[in-house]
Symmetry: D2
């Protein structure tokens, strides 16, 4: 499905391939990507490197799954690769089938190929129906099934998206094997550093921050930067910094936009507190849900307080 546009403003979009992955489904939701080149890549680091090094205009990467949690390689890559910014968020419902080589029966399955994130999402079903199975991790939700037919895998069966049946000669062994019928994966579109898009009222801000040191209460103090400005966090995940056990950075999604006064103020507080803050971007939420917050944190209140302070300093009588 990779194709080229002959328009002069040609620009590529990188995504975890091959065609048929959930990531491709996420990219299909981006109107601006239509008619441009889609570059399938092998991993998130490659996708982001395409952006940093100018081979692609943007990359679509999975960042969190409602069942399996944060995609740690993506989070770690964003934490350590400078020059990137999230510009959009996309949700893809996740549904899985179990497929086998033609002629396979469910009761014969012992070795299952599956991308680890997919595997985690079907674990309950597997424990129930195939308790003695073993797992062979696959590179993607498509590669798992491809291996069955091209002979590169010893697996008896593979976990894959339902679309796999249309393109590959595999047999459906079980449908809807995901443990949560409402499972969804969250993707983000990542470009080079640009100014954030205008606030829409339904925005999200992504940050990665380190704690100053390992004393009781440091995390508490970091979270207070948001709580004391009435800002809700929709994601808080810890990732090891990697130098020693017990040292973490925190991946945070906060409701609101950096151009909202309360968020700007929270980011200032965070920057003063944390030895390292990476601002990943402010962008419209995929669900377009308007962010509600107490009136006392509205832009007006911030502006009024600044005016008041200015008056104090100038020596004007207070009203």
């Amino acid at each position: 499905m990779t194709f080229e546009s002959d328009a002069p403003a040609r620009r590529a979009y990188s995504y975890l391939g091959p065609a048929g992955t959930f990531t491709e489904a996420a990219l299909a939701q981006v109107p601006e990507a239509r008619g441009h080149e889609w570059r399938p890549v092998h991993n998130v680091a490659e996708a982001l490197a395409d952006v940093v090094e100018g081979r692609s205009h943007a990359a679509m990467i999975a960042i969190e799954n409602s069942v399996d949690g944060g995609v740690s390689t993506a989070q770690d890559a964003l934490a350590t690769m400078p020059g990137l910014r999230i510009v959009g968020e996309y949700l893809v419902p996740v549904r899985f089938v179990l497929v086998g080589k033609p002629g396979t029966r469910l009761e014969d399955v012992s070795l299952i190929a599956a991308h680890p994130v997919a595997y985690a999402q079907c674990l309950q079903w597997l424990s129930e129906h195939l308790p003695a199975h073993a797992h062979i991790p696959a590179a993607s939700n498509v590669a798992s099934a491809v291996g069955l037919t091209d002979g590169t895998s010893d697996a008896d069966a593979a976990i894959a998206p339902p679309g796999i049946l249309e393109h590959h000669d595999v047999e459906l062994l079980a449908d809807g094997i995901g443990d949560n019928p409402n499972a969804v994966t969250r993707f983000v579109l990542v470009s080079r550093t640009v100014a954030p898009p205008s606030p829409t009222g339904a925005d999200k801000t992504s940050i990665i921050a380190e704690l100053p040191d390992d004393h009781p209460g440091a995390l508490l103090e970091m979270l207070e930067q948001f709580a004391t400005r009435g800002i809700n966090l929709s994601l808080l995940a810890s990732r090891p910094i990697g130098d020693e056990l017990g040292r973490y950075r925190f991946v945070i999604d906060a409701d609101g936009h950096v151009l909202d006064e309360r968020m700007a103020d929270a980011l200032l507080g965070l920057r003063r507190f944390s030895p390292k803050v990476v601002f990943l971007g402010s962008y419209p939420r995929a669900d377009r849900a308007i962010v509600h917050y107490p009136e006392r944190y509205s832009d007006d209140v911030f502006v009024e307080a600044r005016d008041w302070l200015r008056g104090l300093i100038s020596g004007e009588p207070e009203e």
Copy 2:
């Protein structure tokens, strides 16, 4: 001791009289007041009205005593009279004597005239040496002794500053009767609203603030505005707002100056939080003690964070 200057820029200073009070001793510490008129007044409300209505350039008022605590009438007057600002702080050591009419002996004393604040500071000594005494409140630390000799008081003895012996015909019954030999009273010099004096590094900021409503934790949230900016409070006193039991305003002295970044930020937070904040002023501390605070709250850190935020919004790549 009230006198007039014939200088063209004549200006008066109001203080709780008559001559000989601790308040006059505080005013004597103000170099700018020398050579100007000193107006003795009867109470703090009169002193502040002199300022508001232009009869005096400034007023010296007692605001806190190390033994008896905040001077509530002064605190309440500052909370409710607009157009005032504290411009200086002065400390006066407090020492008391017990004096009687000539011929009085300590063992004969049963009725003691004393200003209530002075009385409170000698209570321990009195309970020990004159357990059966009764107290007649006096209007000032000088009036208490004057009443003994001019016949306006039935008291047998009076509590007064040591200087009383030089100007009045009274007999020393006991010296150093204050319960705390290190007792000190804190005075402030109050002018009409002016721009705060420049920061000296040894400054104090006085504020009076109301809480938004009576829910568990509102005071906590107010105090966090200071604590999360590394600002120590040297005074926190509650005063009833006066409309009903259980509603308070808080009188706060905070270490630092409104032109310090951390203090300005705390005041912004306080203003956004509180339904009513009165800024009473930033001024040099009487003890000239430099305010120490963690490096993370220095002006540089605030400035750097703002630069960082500006960069984020403009879309410049982070370093």
Copy 3:
């Protein structure tokens, strides 16, 4: 109005006299005090000493006024005299008249006798109607008026409770001069240390506590002991410890009873945190208002958690 009962279980009640004070009105609200001796005393220290030394069964003392705030001498006495406990709370509406010697006219008044707390409550009225007045403090709200007629005071007028007109030959100059028509004074009945009365659901707990040291956030940490258990504070007043400026103890009234699980837990936290905590008592609120608090702080929740913990430690499987 002091009288004696000839009942065998004779017991006295001390109060700030003379007859006619608001304190006496508070004592009149105590059913158990009827038919017993009422001892008028000169000050709060004397009243409490009567209790400690066994001369009285209990003492009624004013502790807070809705306009003037905490009664500092009472608070300080409770903080430093061991062996006392508050066993009841009483509210007395406060109304003031201005009275003069027979023949005095309002426009002639320049010197006003008034108990300092009464004076503070009429300050607004006085500033408006008698801006040039001076204040002579009086020992009680009755003594102020008595001085007008017995020649012991030079005052032209006195502030007193309305009842004064029935017992003394003074002329009414103005009625209802209190600044707040709803003003009320809160009294507490203090006995020797006894077990607290049973919880009624409408209880209050009084505590005085010192902070461990003067670091930013110590007060915050103390208040969290209450806030994190859903306990509202109806009074928080700071009082200087008295040894140096800037060191305070805090007078706290908290909603609830020491036999409520959440209050017991908060007191444990407070005791562990504070270098000195004085428990003054748990007793029914004067207004009999039931204390509401979130379900998560109910006794059941505490009991359930303890059972759970016991199970963990014993090694029983969790359910």
Copy 4:
């Protein structure tokens, strides 16, 4: 290396096989496991099911890696399988080699088999030395290399522990390719629910807790349960509960033992706050580092406070 003891008290230990894995190295650190059956299993769910269903006495599972972070399948299994308890902690240094089929040269490598956790730990080295590589996930750190020689994998090279060279016919292409030379994996030994081992002073307590609801500050409030008792957290990881995006449970390792007063008190607070708390156990830390904490949180302080409270309630005079 699986063997059987003929001792009467025969008991098995499950671990992620095959022989040669880091998990086996962790199990080799357990003195009590010597001479008993070691059961290699295919995944963590199988290992834990062995324990719950009585096939094994205990299971060794990887729980956290210093580079890759929490092992989410292990965390999720512990959160949802009742009847388990962590009884010990073990650290295994992690070192990786890149191996190929005999005759392979580093410059020929394009497809690399690796367990995803191992892969993540070598990503930096790979990006530098083999930027164009693709990754085939393997089921374990041994399976990756085994696939090279038994023909089940198309990979050119595999990431494996150094010991692989002794048992398999593979060629060393690069040594020490882990991005962090100090990388270490933390394992826990899990048994059925038993009483916790006695405190050693160097203990850790593992908990999994859900937040009451998604309001700003809920996580803050949970963390305060630990911070206000001086308890440091060595691990805080969020895991999706799995029902919808944005709902998390938190995996917590806290310094100290449930039989320490401060920890018991924190757990009580946590239980009262959280709709679901799973206590995973208190056990000696692998590093045997004594837990230091402020004196104010010592057992004595808790015991003294309880004695004090008991005295208050009984009505004994305070000292």
